[in-house]
Each structure stands twice: as structure tokens, then as C-alpha cells.
Symmetry: C2
Subunit: 183 residues, 2 copies
DNA sequence: CCTCGATGAGACAAATTTGTCTCATAAGGG
DNA sequence: CCCTTATGAGACAAATTTGTCTCATCGAGG
């Protein structure tokens, strides 16, 4: 009987990813509930977006933790990270393009924490000689976000297979498109 | 006295990139004109978006032509393409996230043409042995879009230098983050 | 069987946005 | 200098969206 708040948030994210300007009514229908119930759980549109942001941050932090970024090579850690972040990719794809989040006030502190942890991973890869140093850790991080978003969208559109998600992102980000002569 | 339609479109794109839900009034102010004048040039919000789409397609096609994708190595062609597409990156970043464009009716034919040409470039690189074959041309194309969007946004936010734009995208896409042992 | 709590459907006003209109003004060409 | 044209400011109604409310219904648990 009771609505599963988490499930509502996921449906809302999916709907808003498809159409960022969805009305509360469209979001409610996409979640299979009525607009009244949606309002009972989230005070308004802003509150809904904020809740999505919180959920996204939580899932990302969980993914970062599960990926154990400090262990093994930076490349392997990155591969683990991409794999762990896959379930949250749809939500992420929406949040990344939701630039309204930093409107007026500052960016959510949670994103800053995540940014730092990911940047540190790339920095570690540079310091131990795995990664090239002419691409800054900040750019590599932004590129990772972009690729995750692109891949999530491509999967939604059926342009790439969902099972290839993490492979495509990690391999492109780490190895690039260029064919290696040999190892 | 007369409004520069092209300049209005560029300002509109910049404003809409910052905030996708900008009202016509916000767009007008961002363009330095009144809402009445904005309406005189574009019948409505939809017409404005469509005009932005047309402009984006035109600029992309011009970039594709200027990059001479069939000449030289695929890698060099890709580098030229990224360089040529830089002026349109802001507009592109908006259009890519504007998923409302394919709402209901089919995707604009212009995008399909562009998609094909870019995909063909990656395919050419694979056929001549430059690019690895485990990353499909379609994915490489989507990844390019994602990286262009990420880079455009990162430049806007001041996270990366504008002068590095094309280098960062092309080098990451082609070579990846991994450091090469030697050439 | 009854009660309580959550939900769906819908009404409603308020707020926002849009599209259209008028009028005054400034700019530019003849 | 005058006349044409485009613009800015603002009024206005229509449409859309939002937030709140009421009421009936459904289902679980006692």
C-alpha cells in the first residue's frame, strides 16, 4: 500500500532524464502514482530534485567505497569504479545535466567530496606513472562524467548494449581509441 | 537598430546551456533585447529551439566540411574536427542535452547525416588499423559528443582552460589516459 | 467485521509563463 | 527634415503548472 520512496525517485529520475521539463504530473504518472501522493512525499518540485541529488550522491559514495580506489593499480581501480557506478548511471546522467542545482547557492558539498576522491584517483595514477601527465586529473574526472552520461544515454537509446556499459567507458577512458602496436 | 539574429541565437544558446528551463524573458534579457522583439524573430519557444537546432546542424556540417575527414590519417582528421567544432561547442552542449528535440516526431534528419559522417570517420580509422576494433564506431561517436559537452561545460565553469579545449578532447579520445611506454 | 492510514481522483485558486496587442520612441535612409 | 521601420515597455488574456484541499476508496491489521 505504502509507496516505495526509493522506487519513486528512480522512476522520477528516468522520466526527468528523458524529458528534463517534465511536469509533476508526468513524473507522478511515470512513477505509477498520483500527483497528490507525489506531493505528499516531496513538498514540491524543488524538493524532488534535491531528493534526487541526495540519492545520487549517496549512490556515488557507495560506488566509490565499493570500488576501493586506493587498492591496486589506478587503472584497475577505475575499472571497478565504472562497474560500481553503473546502476546509478541513469540518475547521474540526469543530475549532471541538471545545472539548476548550483543556481544561486553553492554546489552541494557532497559533489565536492566526490569530485575530490575521483580526482585523487587520477592523480595517483599520474604519480605512479600509469597515467599521462598532460591531461589534468580535473579534466579526466570531467571526461569520466561525460562518458558515463553518454554511455547511459546511448544505452537508453539502444545504440550500445547495456552489458558493454562499463567496458566501453573504462577502456576508452584508459586506453583511448588508438590501437596499440603491441603491449 | 536591427537585431542580429545569429547573435541572438548564440546568446540564447549560452543562456539555455546555463539554465535549460529559462523563460523567454530570461532568454531575451540574456540576448540584450526585449521579449517582444524576441517573439518577433521567433514565433515561440519551440521555434527558438528549432532555430537553435538548425544553427547547430549548420555549424557542425561546416566543421565537418572544414575538417576534411577523408584526408590523412583518421587520427589527424579527428583532431581537425575537434578543432573546427570548438566554436560550436557551447551550442552543441545545449543541443545534446535537449532531448526534447526528438519528442514525438523523429530525430532531425540533419543529425542523422552528421552521425553517419562521424561514424564513418571512426570506421575508416578501424579499417586502416589506426583504431581498435573492440570499441564500435557508434560508441566512439557518442563518446566524442560526451567529451565535447563535458569540455564545453568545464571551460564555462573555469575548470579547464579554453585554449586546451581541442587538445584535451582529441588526445583523450585518441590516446586515452594511459601513459604510453614509448612511441 | 471494524478501524486506521495511505492512496487516487478531482476541484480549486495562485503563480508562472506564454503569446498577442498597443503605443511611444529611436534609428536610419531618402 | 521627414518617413519608414524596428524596437522597448508594458498591458492583457489564455494556457500551463503548481500547491492545497476534500472526499471516496482500498487494504492491512487488530
Amino acid at each position: 500500500m505504502s509507496v516505495d520512496r526509493d522506487q519513486v525517485l528512480r522512476s522520477a529520475a528516468a522520466q526527468l532524464t528523458r524529458k528534463g521539463s517534465s511536469t509533476m504530473d508526468e513524473v507522478a504518472k511515470a512513477s505509477g502514482i498520483s500527483r497528490a501522493t507525489l506531493h505528499r512525499h516531496f513538498a514540491g518540485r524543488d524538493a524532488l530534485i534535491r531528493a534526487l541529488e541526495e540519492l545520487g550522491i549517496q549512490e556515488c559514495e557507495a560506488a566509490l567505497n565499493a570500488a576501493r580506489l586506493d587498492e591496486g593499480t589506478a587503472g584497475d581501480a577505475l575499472r571497478r569504479l565504472v562497474k560500481e557506478i553503473e546502476p546509478a548511471a541513469g540518475l547521474l546522467a540526469f543530475l549532471v545535466t541538471e545545472n539548476q542545482l548550483f543556481e544561486g547557492d553553492a554546489q552541494h558539498e557532497g559533489w565536492t567530496r566526490l569530485d575530490i576522491r575521483i580526482t585523487d584517483l587520477f592523480r595517483r595514477g599520474q604519480l605512479n606513472g600509469e597515467f599521462r601527465i598532460d591531461l589534468s586529473p580535473v579534466w579526466l574526472r570531467e571526461a569520466l562524467y561525460g562518458l558515463v552520461g553518454s554511455a547511459a544515454w546511448a544505452v537508453l537509446e539502444g545504440r550500445v548494449a547495456a552489458k558493454d556499459f562499463s567496458y566501453l567507458i573504462a577502456e576508452l577512458l584508459i586506453g583511448g581509441a588508438q590501437r596499440r602496436v603491441e603491449s
